[in-house]
């Protein structure tokens, strides 16, 4: 449990004074989680918005997302260093440092989630958890979530409302996520997509060997 926590020793987004290495950063479960989640969330959103009025497959998407979230939370404690929550929980100083280097036109070579990226991970996990939980309690008069029979109908109405507006919020955060990937790609000339596929990323040398 106490092996190398990537990222915890870093205070900034600069690469000066540090050697670089290409190494395995994202483990297989983290990568699988990421891409399956991305696919299922997109499909679930599409079905909710434009799908058939019988929402059975939208429900299946929700159950899948819920399961993935549970697995990811467990993985946040036992997974590879860069996947652990502790490795991307930063203090205020790290955020300031990160902001100072953000617009520099060079790759960050960050060995894991940077402060903003880490915050985005927590934000997306939290919003998705809200989305799944409110979905279980939602009712559109045709489809009712599995928890609807156990709760007050006015509460279910309210949670259906939250389910809808939280999905708008998710769209914004996911959009921001994609925009930042593009920003890194175009402005900072750092491809963050490939490492999420291959697992390997060019990063600052770990201080521990």
């Amino acid at each position: 449990m106490s092996d190398n926590h990537a990222g915890t020793n870093n205070t900034g987004g600069d690469t000066t004074g540090a050697g670089l290495e290409t190494r395995k950063l994202w483990d297989v479960p983290t990568r699988l989680f990421h891409w399956i989640l991305a696919g299922v969330v997109c499909y679930g959103w599409y079905l909710g918005e434009y799908g058939p009025f019988i929402k059975t497959w939208h429900f299946y998407c929700g159950y899948t997302v819920g399961t993935l979230l549970v697995l990811r939370i467990i993985w946040g404690f036992v997974g590879a260093p860069a996947s652990r929550f502790a490795s991307f929980t930063y203090g205020p100083r790290a955020f300031l440092d990160y902001a100072r280097h953000l617009f520099k036109r060079r790759p960050s070579h960050w060995p894991g989630h940077n402060p903003m990226g880490g915050l985005a991970v927590f934000g997306m996990l939290a919003l998705l958890a809200v989305q799944v939980l409110t979905g279980l309690c939602s009712d559109d008069d045709i489809n009712a979530g599995p928890l609807v029979p156990y709760i007050d109908s006015s509460l279910s109405g309210f949670l259906s409302y939250v389910h809808y507006w939280n999905s708008r919020l998710l769209l914004v955060v996911v959009g921001l996520h994609v925009v930042m990937i593009a920003f890194y790609w175009i402005w900072k000339r750092e491809n963050l997509v490939l490492p999420m596929i291959s697992g390997r990323k060019r990063v600052r040398q770990s201080t521990k060997t």
Binding site: F53, D141, I142, N143, F158, Y161, Y164
Partner: protein, 160 residues
């Protein structure tokens, strides 16, 4: 203005407001009646449509009798002119907390009436379909469900 005058005006204003709100809360108006009528209508439509959703989800077993029951109820409801209750002054903008009907209905009455008409046609089509056996009815039921969103997506708010 003396202190006494100010106090008196405050008391009078409070009483007027209190009495006014009591009347406003319990008072039936043509608008409040119209909203209640169409909400009651919607409850009936919901009750009669429930078995259709059960059939489409595979939770309810099909029978000709059930199909005929659903079709006759929804056919009767579809022939009732519920549009008459969408009178002016009964949108969510004017009666917040009472109705989810968006102002867009009155801004685009033609589109709303068409969507309502599409639903009514799909509902009456269930009657013929119910005589044609399971496959015919299930197909008509699917089309019927597709028309709910015609009004509920563009013209209904997500909350009161």
């Amino acid at each position: 203005m003396s202190k006494k005058m100010i106090l008196m005006s405050a008391v009078v204003a409070f009483l007027v407001a209190a009495v006014g709100s009591v009347f406003a809360a319990g008072h039936e108006t043509p608008e409040s009646k119209a909203v209640e009528a169409r909400q009651g209508y919607m409850k009936l439509v919901g009750a009669s449509s429930g078995p259709i959703w059960g059939l489409l989800k595979g939770e309810t077993e099909y029978s000709d009798d059930l199909a005929k029951k659903i079709a006759s109820e929804l056919g009767a409801l579809a022939r009732y002119p519920v549009g008459q209750f969408f009178i002016k002054g009964t949108s969510k903008s004017e009666m917040a907390g009472k109705t989810r009907a968006l102002m867009k209905i009155w801004e685009d009455m033609g589109g709303f009436e068409k969507a309502l008409g599409d639903w009514a046609s799909a509902a009456t089509a269930l009657e013929a379909a119910a005589a044609g056996g399971k496959d015919a009815f299930m197909a008509a039921a699917g089309k019927y469900g597709d028309t709910c969103g015609g009004c509920h997506k563009p013209y209904r708010a997500k909350d009161l």
